[in-house]
Amino acid sequence: MPRDVAAYLAEFDDIPGTRVYTARRARQGYHLNQFAMSLMKEDNRTRFLADQRAYLDEWQLSDEIKQAVIDRDYNRLLDLGGNIYFLAKLFSTDRLSFQDAVSTMTGMTKEEYFQMMVGGGRSPHGQRSIKGQY
């Protein structure tokens, strides 16, 4: 049975602190994510780290996106259409683990985040719905 795409998508905006990689974001971030993919090659990683701005200038990216990459502002990059599976190539280029990179998006220090995970992680209580506050 066909599904109502609008109704399907509408619910995704109701999850606290979460950007779902919808078609809108995928289109917006196409070149950003393809840039991230290019970092799967050692030569490209070396060139990027040697001169980040020059490497970014080779891609069809807005100045805002280029700056967010240089700042490693992952929340901003997600807002601009980045996807975490792709952006992983960027923090791997920085030799950061998933956990250390992910912690930078939470407003916690690396150590605070690590301790939260050791303590069982972030509780879903109050984190499921913005409107419903549950």
Binding site: R19, K89, R95, S123, P124
Partner: protein, 291 residues
């Protein structure tokens, strides 16, 4: 005649591969994570599957944004490890079973289940970490060569919408029908990988929902039909943005076609950013014809 004798579910957390590669599996943080696979390693070594149909998601390695297949099957003779940013993992190439894979592809398509055929690809941690946790030596060293052939089944859970849980289940059923009609006598395992609760992005990162995960694990054996109707929004709200990977467990479960026995369970929090889940299911109808 080929038969699916077991279903195995496991997380495929990249840090597990990194710890194996760096020889750090004995550290206190990691020991309980690896210990939970000891039983499975012994069991699978005795069980000696010929082929593993390995359901996983590519993490933007073989597929970038140019092409996004919802379901794809690897029909190659061999798959080499991808460079995910740290250089390729030092694991052996993964041997394929091209003949079985092509058979499954053809059977599924004739069964009205369109699936993308892949003849060349590199595989990332989504596929290699499950092989490690089950086929490594007792001291967690990667073997010189993998002891089984692998048929990779890749599922898009990155770009929305991913397939529904119900559609995943139905693909599992179609794969089971394909295997049933493959003439060679093969002991086949089907693995569903990824999951459990985890969120790798944004201010809500680190979400873990043990209660939901445990209920999901229980239902895999006791009442799996209930799992078919879980909506994407529920996975997202309850298990974090990457918990959606659990739909891939339903391809495995759908392929088991009925009664199963849970032989082993391992659940541990945390493993890096995630809850780790692992199940070994014996297919109790392996020798009976598939409807």
């Amino acid at each position: 005649m080929a038969r699916i004798t077991h279903g195995i579910a496991t997380s495929h957390i990249p840090a597990i591969g990194a710890m194996i590669d760096q020889g750090r599996t004995d550290e206190p943080y990691w020991r309980p994570i690896f210990a939970g696979y000891d039983w499975t390693k012994q069991y699978v070594a005795q069980e000696r599957p010929d082929v593993v149909i390995l359901v996983y998601n590519d993490h933007a390695s073989a597929f970038d944004m140019k092409i996004i297949p919802t379901f794809a099957i690897g029909c190659a003779e061999e798959y080499r490890p991808a460079d995910e940013g740290w250089g390729p993992r030092p694991v052996p190439p993964v041997p394929g079973h091209a003949d079985l894979a092509w058979h499954i592809a053809q059977s599924c398509i004739l069964d009205e289940f369109d699936i993308t055929i892949i003849n060349e690809m590199e595989v990332d941690h989504g596929l290699t970490v499950p092989l490690d946790v089950i086929f490594d030596s007792a001291d967690n060293r990667t073997p010189d060569k993998w002891p089984v052939k692998v048929v990779p089944v890749a599922v898009n859970v990155v770009t929305y919408p991913p397939p529904s849980g119900n559609r995943c289940w139905m693909l599992g059923e179609a794969i089971a029908r394909a295997v049933e009609s493959y003439p060679e006598d093969l002991n086949i395992h089907i693995w569903g990988t990824g999951g459990m609760s985890h969120q790798l992005q944004g201010p809500r990162a680190g979400l873990i929902n043990k209660e939901w995960d445990q209920n999901f694990l229980d239902l895999m054996t006791s009442d799996p039909e209930k799992l078919r109707t879980i909506e994407h929004i529920e996975y997202l709200r309850e298990t974090g943005s990457e918990g959606i990977e659990m739909v891939m467990w339903l391809i495995m479960r759908g392929a088991l076609q009925g009664t199963v026995t849970e032989l082993h369970r391992h659940y541990h929090v945390p493993c890096s950013n995630t809850a780790l889940g692992h199940l070994v299911l014996k297919n109790e109808v392996a020798d009976t014809p598939v409807a």
